[in-house]
Amino acid sequence: MKHQTFLWALLLGMASGLSAQAPGYLGKRFFVKPEFSSMFALSNPTADYVGSADPFALNVRYGLQLGYALSRRSALTVEASYMKTGMVMSAYTPSIQNNSSSDVHDLLYSLGGPEIGISLQTYNPLRGSIAPMGFFTAWRLRMAFLNGIVQEDRITYANGDASAGTRPLDINPSYNQLTLGVELGQNIVVADRLVLSISAEANIPPFNLSSDNSNYDSGDGQSVFDYVAADRMRWHSWFMVKIGAGYLF
C-alpha cells in the first residue's frame, strides 16, 4: 500500500512538469489496461495440478496496468497482478509412533497471491513508436506476495500405520519475491481510444525476501518450501506471453 501511494505521488508530481514534452497518442497520456499472461507449464505443476501429463497446461497471471506517457520515448507503468501456480514438494515430520523415523508428506500446494510492479517502457520514435503506441522495451521490478495453500497431503507413514496420525507440518507457507523483468512488446491503438498489446516477458528472480534459502536442507520443511517456491516462481514466470486490451485517456 505504501509502495502504491508513493508511486501515484511520483506520477502526479511528474505530470505537472511535462507540458513541454510531446504528449502521448494525440495528447492522451494515460492508459489503463487489463492483461493476461500465460505460458505452457512445461511439465511443471499448475494451480489446478494438471501436472506433467498435460502438455498444454498453462501458467497464468492476471494483471491491471496503469500507465503514463512521460515523453515521446518513455512511459511509466504501475501494475497489480495476481498469479497462481502449483507446487509439489516433500516434507518430513517425525513419526508419532516412532521418533526415530519420519512420515513423508508429498504435498501439493496452490501457491499464489498478489503482485505489484513498476516498469519503465521505452519507445524509439525513430522506429515509428511514440509512447504509448508502438514497439517498446520495458524494464520491470515486480514484488510477489505469495501464500501456499495445501491442496493435497499424501502421507507415507513411517511404520505404515496411519492410526496414530501425523505431526503437523512446521511450514510457514508465505513467500515473497522480487523479480527483475524485461518485456518486448507492441501497443496498437485502435479507434484512437483502445489500446491492444502483445508482448513477451522474461523475469529473473534475484531476491528471495522471506527467507534465506542458501542453506537448503531437505530435512527442514520450511527450507524445502522456500527453495521449491523460489524454483517454482522461476519456472512459472521466467517467460510469458502477455496480451492486453485497454483504454487511452
Binding site: A20, A22, L26, N124, P125
Partner: protein
C-alpha cells in the same frame, strides 16, 4: 502573295516591340476555370472506361487487358494534369486548340469526348496524344517550329494517334506479347524478338499517323512546302532554338576578362541525330524514311496559290512561339541546366536587350552554377565534348573554370545587375548569398584589387656588359610575372572583377554581413562535429523540436500505396482513396493539436480555384528545387519573389510537405519461423506462427517544414517503419510533428 504579306506582317510585328521598355517575361500560368478533367477523381474516369469496355463483346482476356490499360493510363495521365506542368486556358493552349480546330472542321474526328489540346511546360521537343482525346505539345517543340503549318502537321499526326486509339492498341499488342501462352509460336520467342515485334508494331502506328496526318493537312489550306522541316526539328531537337555565337563580353567588363583558355577556338560542328540509323529496336521509324515517305506524297500535291502557312494567325504563331522561347530559360533554370538557361536567355536578349527578366535568369543560372560547383559532392553531368553548336562554349567554360572562379564570375555579373536594380528582392537575396560564398572562398578581400590592372611590360633583354642599360633583377621579373597574371586574361584575372567597387559602402556592407554569416556557419558546423554537438543532435532528433510556429500551410499531402506481390506495384485506386483519407486525417489532427493549417491540395480544388492551382504549382516547383539543392547552403528558389507573395497571401512563411508511402511486401522466407521455433524453443510456436502468417508492411513517412522565404528547413520526420499505415500510426506521427511545430 498572301504568304508574303503575312510574313512581312509577322516580321513587322516582332520588330515593333518596344525595345526601350523594361520588359520581363512572366512564367506562363493557367487561367480561367479549371477544366473538369483536372479535378475529377481518376477513379470515376476509370469506372466510366471499364463500363464502356464491358459493353463491348471482346474476349475476356482482352477485356481484362483493356481495363488494365484504363487503370494505368487514367491515373498516370491525371497525375500529369495535376502536376502543374500542363497549362489550360492560357494563350498558348488556346492557340493550339484553334489550330487543331482547323484540322477537324472539314474532317471531324470520330471521338466520344471532345478533343483537348494543352501546352506542356517542358523543354523537351515532343508532342503526344492519349486515347482520352488529349494532345500535349511541349513548349520546347513550339520554340523550334518555323510556322503554323508545321505545327498543324504535328497536331494532325497526334490526332491520328487519338482517333485510331494507337496507345490502347499498342498496349494490347505488348500485353499479348508479354503474356503469350507458350503453346503459340510466340511462346518460343526470345525477349529480343518480342521487343522487335513491339517496335515494328509501334513503327506501323507512327507511319500511319504520318500518312493520315499528312492526308488531313492536304485536306486543308495549309501550305505543305515547309512540312519536311518538321523532321529537321526532330533531327536537331537537342540543340537550342537558334545557333548564334555566344557573346562572351556579356559576362566580362573592362577589367574583368575571362582567359582565352576557357573559351573554345572552334565549337563542335552540328551533326544532329543520324537520320538513317537502324530503327529495328526503336519505336519510331528513322527520320530519313519518314522524310522520304512525306516527300513522295508531297511530290504529287503542289501547293496552290490559296495555300498558306497560317490559317489561324501569323501574329499569334509568332507570339506563341516567343512565349515558348521565353519560358525555356526558366524551365532550364528550374531543372538546374545552367549552361542551357544562360545560352537560351542570351539568344532572346538579341531581340530584347533590355529584358530584365532574361538578365536575371542569367544571373540566377551563374549563381546556381557557382553554388553547385562549390559543393563537395558536385559532379558535372555529361561531357562538353558531346555538345554541338555554339552553346558548347558555355559548357566548356563551366567545365574548365575552377570552383572559386565561378563564384567571382557569378558575383561580378550579379553585382552589376543588382546595382542597376537595387529594389529587386530576388537579386538582393542572390547577391547576399554570393557574397557569403565569396567569403567562404576568400578569407579577406585583399585577394582582389580595387585598381585597374597595370599593363605588363615586356621583359628587357639581358644586358651586355658593354651596353649602358641595366639588366632586370629577379624581383623585377617577379613583379612582371605577377602583373601579367593579374592582367585581363591572366592567371589572376579574377582579382580585378571588382575594380572600383571594393571601397563602395554597399559592397563593404554586403562583405561584412557575409563574413559574419560565414563565421557563424563555421562555428555551428564545428559544434555539431564535436561529440557534444553530435549528442545534442541525436537528442534533438529523439526528443523532438520546439519551433513555436502557430500557423502553417500544407502542400499537396502525398500518399502512395504499393504492393510488391502484384505485377503492377502501384495500387492506383487504393492510392487515390488513401490520399482522401490522408487529407481527412490531417484535418482531424490539426484540430486536435491546435495548429492552424491551410491545406493546399489539387485534389480538393473546384473549377474556380485556378489561382490556388497555380500557387500549388509554384510551391511544388520550389520544393523540388530545394530537394535538389538540399546539400547546398540555403538557396532561394528560381521564382522566389512569387513564393514570397504566396507566403504573404496565406499568412505564413512556413509550408509543410508531408507524405506516406505504404508498401505491402512479399512474405519471402517468413515461414521459416515455424520450424525454427519448433527446433529451438517450442513454446514460442504461437509467436512464430503469428510472424509467419502476419502480412509484411513497410511505411515511409516524411514531414518537411520549410520557411519558404529563407529556405531554412526542418526535417521533422523521414522514417521508415516496419508497420502498416493504420490511421492510428499516421495520426500519431502527424500529431507528433504538429506538436513539435506548435510548441515553444
Amino acid at each position: 502573295m498572301k504568304n508574303i504579306v503575312q510574313f512581312i506582317t509577322a516580321i513587322l510585328i516582332v520588330s515593333a516591340l518596344p525595345l526601350g521598355a523594361q520588359e520581363s517575361h512572366q512564367p506562363l500560368v493557367a487561367t480561367g476555370k479549371i477544366p473538369a478533367e483536372f479535378i475529377t477523381a481518376s477513379k470515376a474516369k476509370y469506372s466510366r472506361a471499364i463500363k464502356e469496355t464491358s459493353k463491348s463483346k471482346k474476349p475476356r482476356k482482352e477485356v481484362k487487358a483493356r481495363n488494365r490499360f484504363a487503370l494505368e493510363s487514367n491515373f498516370i495521365l491525371d497525375d500529369l494534369l495535376r502536376s502543374g506542368r500542363v497549362l489550360f486556358n492560357d494563350e498558348v493552349s488556346t492557340y493550339l486548340g484553334e489550330v487543331a480546330t482547323t484540322l477537324t472542321t472539314s474532317k471531324p474526328l470520330a471521338l466520344k469526348t471532345p478533343l483537348r489540346v494543352y501546352a506542356l511546360r517542358s523543354s523537351a521537343v515532343n508532342a503526344f496524344a492519349t486515347d482520352r482525346g488529349e494532345v500535349f505539345v511541349t513548349l520546347g517543340l513550339l520554340a523550334q517550329l518555323e510556322n503554323e503549318a508545321q505545327l498543324a502537321y504535328i497536331l494532325a499526326h497526334e490526332l491520328t494517334h487519338v482517333e485510331k486509339k494507337h496507345a490502347l492498341n499498342f498496349y494490347l499488342k505488348a500485353d499479348k506479347l508479354d503474356k503469350n501462352d507458350g503453346r503459340s509460336v510466340l511462346g518460343r520467342t526470345s525477349s529480343d524478338d518480342k521487343l522487335l515485334e513491339a517496335c515494328a508494331f509501334s513503327k506501323e502506328q507512327e507511319n500511319e499517323a504520318d500518312r493520315i496526318g499528312l492526308e488531313r493537312i492536304l485536306g486543308t489550306k495549309y501550305r505543305t512546302a515547309s512540312l519536311p522541316v518538321v523532321f529537321d526539328v526532330l533531327q536537331y531537337s537537342s540543340l537550342p532554338f537558334d545557333d548564334v555565337p555566344f557573346d562572351r563580353s556579356s559576362l566580362e567588363s573592362e577589367h574583368y576578362r575571362i582567359p582565352d583558355a576557357y573559351w573554345l577556338e572552334q565549337v563542335k560542328p552540328i551533326e544532329g541525330e543520324a537520320d538513317d540509323k537502324d530503327d529495328k529496336h526503336h519505336s519510331h521509324p528513322n527520320l530519313k524514311s519518314r522524310r522520304e515517305a512525306m516527300q513522295t506524297v508531297l511530290a504529287k500535291h503542289a501547293d496552290g496559290p490559296d495555300k498558306s502557312d497560317y490559317l489561324v494567325s501569323a501574329e499569334r504563331f509568332v507570339r506563341v512561339r516567343s512565349l515558348a522561347r521565353n519560358e525555356l530559360p526558366l524551365l532550364y533554370l528550374h531543372a538546374d541546366r545552367h549552361a542551357e538557361a544562360i545560352y537560351s536567355a542570351s539568344l532572346l536578349l538579341h531581340a530584347h536587350p533590355n529584358d530584365f527578366g532574361l538578365k536575371k535568369c542569367i544571373a540566377k543560372a551563374l549563381y546556381l552554377h557557382a553554388k553547385f560547383r562549390n559543393d563537395d559532392d558536385y559532379r558535372f553531368d555529361g561531357d562538353y565534348k558531346d555538345i554541338e553548336g555554339q552553346s558548347q562554349q558555355l559548357f566548356h567554360l563551366f567545365e574548365k573554370m575552377p570552383a572559386t572562379e565561378a563564384i567571382v564570375l557569378a558575383l561580378h555579373y550579379v553585382w552589376r545587375l543588382h546595382r542597376e536594380n537595387p529594389d529587386d528582392a530576388e537579386l538582393k537575396i542572390v547577391t547576399e548569398d554570393l557574397f557569403f560564398e565569396l567569403a567562404r572562398a576568400h578569407d579577406k578581400l585583399d585577394a582582389f584589387s580595387n585598381d585597374a590592372p597595370a599593363v605588363a611590360e615586356a621583359a628587357a633583354p639581358v644586358a651586355d656588359t658593354a651596353v649602358s642599360k641595366p639588366a632586370l633583377s629577379k624581383y623585377d621579373r617577379i613583379r612582371q610575372q605577377k602583373t601579367a597574371e593579374a592582367a585581363p586574361g591572366g592567371a589572376r584575372y579574377w582579382s580585378h572583377a571588382f575594380v572600383g567597387q571594393l571601397h563602395d559602402e554597399t559592397f563593404q556592407q554586403y562583405w561584412k554581413a557575409a563574413e559574419k554569416r560565414r563565421d557563424d556557419y563555421t562555428k555551428a558546423a564545428k559544434y555539431f562535429d564535436t561529440p557534444k554537438g553530435r549528442r545534442q543532435f541525436k537528442r534533438d532528433r529523439k526528443d523532438g523540436l520546439s519551433l513555436g510556429i502557430p500557423k502553417i500551410a500544407i502542400v499537396n499531402p502525398f500518399y502512395l500505396k504499393l504492393d510488391e506481390r502484384k505485377d503492377q506495384a502501384v495500387q492506383h485506386i487504393e492510392t487515390e482513396d488513401g490520399q482522401e483519407r490522408f487529407r481527412s486525417l490531417i484535418r482531424e489532427v490539426s484540430a486536435i493539436s491546435g495548429l492552424k493549417t491551410t491545406l493546399l491540395d489539387v485534389g480538393t480544388l473546384k473549377e474556380n480555384d485556378t489561382e490556388t492551382f497555380n500557387d500549388i504549382r509554384f510551391l511544388n516547383e520550389w520544393f523540388a528545387e530545394q530537394g535538389r539543392h538540399f546539400d547546398l547552403t540555403l538557396t532561394p528558389g528560381t521564382q522566389q519573389e512569387r513564393i514570397n507573395a504566396i507566403a504573404k497571401k496565406y499568412g505564413t512563411d512556413y509550408f509543410l510537405w508531408t507524405g506516406v508511402i505504404s508498401l505491402r511486401e512479399k512474405k519471402g522466407k517468413d515461414w521459416l519461423y515455424i520450424p525454427a521455433s519448433l527446433l529451438l524453443f517450442a513454446p514460442t510456436l504461437p509467436l512464430a506462427t503469428y510472424l509467419a502468417v502476419k502480412p509484411k508492411y513497410e511505411m515511409l513517412h516524411y514531414t518537411m517544414l520549410y520557411d519558404v522565404r529563407t529556405g531554412r528547413h526542418q526535417v521533422l520526420k523521414f522514417e521508415t517503419f516496419q508497420h502498416r499505415d493504420t490511421d492510428a500510426m499516421v495520426k500519431a506521427h502527424l500529431y507528433d510533428a504538429f506538436v513539435q511545430i506548435k510548441r515553444k
